[in-house]
Structure formats: structure tokens, C-alpha cells
Amino acid sequence: MSKVHVVTSVNGEPREMLCEPQQSLLEVLRDELGMTGTKEGCATGDCGACSVMIDGRLVCSCLMLGVEAEGVDITTIEGIAEGSTLHPVQRKFLEHAALQCGICTPGFIVATKALLDRNPDPDERTIRYWLAGNLCRCTGYDKIVRAVQDAAAELAHEA
């Protein structure tokens, strides 16, 4: 099977990758680039564990082909922290114990970052609808919503 050469940008770094045409971006990130922060929960678009941003827009990387990433800017969970300093969203998830097993967490963090980038002051309903495509088997969601609200408040304070 002939692989396709794809030039893209991951977390601000230019990257080249060889993709089989049918490989999902999720498979390429994890298996070709070794970036295993992005998780696979379902591979059918239902759980949001594979959430990444493409040119700033939140998508499921399991429902996008690697070859479709030609020329785009991809933001993954690995691009959220500044070096070893956690992003406020990450810190608030820890402080509020908004995770247990953690498999859903990268997806929630990326989705939350995408929300706060466009709406710095979302109400609870907006948060719950925005995150409706992210499933968590462990937390019961309340702690996640509190973490998001607290992160929004801290980011507003910083701004």
C-alpha cells in the first residue's frame, strides 16, 4: 500500500508524516508520531477522548484521516502546557479531582481549552452542552464542570 507524504504542523512545530490513506489522524498521531496523549475510546466519534483542534476548531481525530491534515495546524493535549508549567485548565482538573482513571481527561482538557478560547465566560448549561461529546465513565461530570468554571474564572482574572 502506498503511503502518502503529509506536511502538517503539530503544536506549532512543522511535522512530516507518512500516512496510509485510510489511517485516522488519531492512529497517525499515536502510532506514527508516538504522541500517545490523545486517547482512543471508541473510534466512532462518540466519546471525545481523541479530541484535538484543527486550525483552532475542536474535532475528533478518530473521524479525520491523517492525509486530511496536510497544511493544517493541529493542537493536541501535548501542546496545552507551557513546558513544565500546566495550563490553568489542567491545574484546575487536578485541584478539583475532575479525573479518576484519566482516559477521558486529555479530550476534556482540549475541548475545554477550545471552549474558553472562544467563550471565556460560559455558563453551566453552555459548558455541559459544549462537552456533551466527551464521555466520562468515572467522575459523574460535576467535578469536571466545576473545574472548567474555576479555570474560566482564573483565566478571566489573569486577563
Binding site: 485510510q22 466519534g45 476548531r57 475542536l58 478518530c62 473521524l63 486530511e68 461529546g133
Partner: protein, 292 residues
């Protein structure tokens, strides 16, 4: 054996030639918009290798003409972009309501209304809304461009009129004038992320006295394809779209429906719910038109 391949045409001509050449050689192609149906199907019900032809890098499929008549929505535009567009939302509140029901934030970042239509599921949420709003499919093929009314586009469960060398360029909608508005409602057992048990879209125009002068009613998930229901529209035209008229329109929807029983609902249930949805979507469209 045929292997998977990916093509990224940048013009309609290039896309159509590629589709035609593959068809001539007996090789399978599949058009790819947001991929939210295609990728799921590639991993489950349909694993046969094929050439995926990406429609997202063509200028015509990315065109969004909101200030024109007809309004044009290109087939490559993800619903997130439509949902964020206040002008579009005010022109077609029902259509955008339907687009906004598709999947999650993540799904809407990719999914297109053209893909929803071309996937041609009986339960596709935007299809009744597109039909109600008078949507016309602009189709490019080897023979040039043709236009097909959305209600004539669908031919069965998962099938439509597209030939092997054709693609949907986008959808044209007559620009709503005066007191014209639409509404779409579906019923699912929870508030997000499920497949419609039934759906109904209503678009109508009122005169200055609030009498309905034109209407289009379409139903989804209660027949092999979404359906235009002219009898439901007739029940509204000439009335003030009061409870009695809405009840008659709802009854016409039930009469036009031929649902199946499955885990989401029985025939009896779907027949009843589609009438309720028609009444409520009709009342929403009326109230929106009155507010114009």
C-alpha cells in the same frame, strides 16, 4: 486487490473527471466531506478499499452566499460554521436548528449538511429541514450542472439520484421574504447525541394579517426517506396557523408516514410523535414569522 487511496481535487472539473475515470475502470470511489459518516462506515459496515475523493479543497464547495437570492451553502462547509453565523440563523432558524442537532461540538467541527443529505439516512436530521426550506441540490457531473429539488433527490434508505460521476456542489435556498420562517424538531430519548425517532420541519409565510400564504412541511425517520407532505402544507395555507390547523397538518403527517418498529420506537409511537412534532415545529415557525 484495490487499495485505499485519497484524492484531493481542487476544481469541480478535476473532481468530476476523476470520478468518471474511476467509474469507467470499474474502480470504486467515495466522496468525502466531513467524514463523520464515511469514517465510521469504513471501520464497520463497509470495509471495501476505495478511493476517497475529498470535496473540501474546491472553491465552489466552500462558497457561502448569504446575501443573495438564492442563498447558497457549499457542500464542504462544516455545520459549526453555519451554526455560528447569526445572519444564516436569522434567515433559516429551522435549518440551523437541525444542523445544530447533529452530534457534538466535535462532530459539528467536521460534519456538513451536504454529507447528511448525501448519506441519505431516513433519520438524517437536516433533510426534513432542507426540504421544508425549499432546498435545491446543485449537482456537478460529466454532463455539466443540474439542479434537483431536495425532496426528489432521495430514492431510498441510503440511496439518492447521484450518478457515479456526480457530486453535490451545494444547496440553494430561495431567500425567505417578508414574514417567512422555518422550524425543525426531532424526538430522541435524551437531549444530545442520538438518532431521531421522528422529525418534522415546517417553513411558512404569513401575510400582514397573519394568514398563511405558503407552507412546506417535511417529515423524517418515519419512512424510507424524508418526505415532503403537501397535504400538511395545504392544511396550513389560508389559516392563521391556529391549533386546529396545526392539528390537521399533524394528522396529514401521520397519514403520510410509513414507519417501522425498532428499538427506538414502535410504528404507533412514531405515527403519534410525528404529528406532535409537526404541530410544535409549525407553531415555532409561525411565531418566528409573526416576529418578523
Amino acid at each position: 486487490m484495490e487499495a485505499y487511496a485519497y484524492a484531493r481535487p481542487t476544481t469541480l472539473d478535476e473532481a468530476v473527471s476523476l470520478l468518471a475515470a474511476h467509474a469507467n475502470e470499474g474502480r470504486r470511489t467515495q466522496l468525502l466531506a466531513g467524514g463523520t459518516d464515511v469514517l465510521v462506515q469504513m471501520r464497520s459496515v463497509d470495509r471495501e478499499p476505495r478511493t476517497l475523493v475529498d470535496v473540501k479543497h474546491i472553491a465552489d464547495t466552500n462558497r457561502l452566499d448569504i446575501d443573495s437570492d438564492p442563498v447558497f451553502i457549499g457542500s464542504a462547509i462544516p455545520s459549526a460554521i453555519l451554526n455560528e453565523n447569526e445572519e444564516l440563523k436569522s434567515l433559516f432558524p429551522g435549518l440551523i436548528e437541525a444542523a445544530d442537532l447533529i452530534g457534538s461540538t466535535q462532530i459539528q467541527g467536521r460534519a456538513t449538511i451536504g454529507g447528511n443529505l448525501c448519506n441519505s439516512s431516513p433519520a438524517g436530521d437536516t433533510i426534513p429541514a432542507i426540504i421544508a426550506a425549499g432546498g435545491v441540490c446543485v449537482i456537478a457531473g460529466s454532463g455539466g450542472t443540474r439542479r434537483v429539488a431536495c425532496e426528489d433527490f432521495l430514492t431510498g434508505v441510503g440511496t439518492n439520484v447521484l450518478e457515479a460521476d456526480e457530486l453535490l456542489v451545494g444547496l440553494e435556498f430561495p431567500r425567505p421574504k417578508g414574514r417567512t420562517a422555518d422550524g425543525y424538531l426531532r424526538f430522541i430519548p435524551r437531549t444530545e447525541m442520538d438518532i431521531a425517532v421522528a422529525g418534522a420541519g415546517v417553513a411558512l409565510s404569513l401575510d400582514d394579517g397573519g394568514t398563511c400564504t405558503a407552507a412546506r412541511v417535511a417529515i423524517g425517520a418515519v419512512a424510507p426517506t424524508a418526505l415532503l407532505v403537501p397535504a400538511a402544507a395545504d392544511a396550513l395555507i389560508g389559516t392563521k396557523v391556529d391549533d386546529e390547523a396545526l392539528a390537521a397538518a399533524g394528522a396529514a403527517c401521520t397519514a403520510a408516514a410509513s414507519p417501522i418498529s425498532d428499538k427506538r420506537g414502535t410504528i404507533e409511537y412514531r405515527n403519534k410523535v410525528v404529528a406532535v412534532l409537526c404541530r410544535r415545529a409549525g407553531a415555532n415557525a409561525r411565531d418566528r414569522a409573526l416576529a418578523r
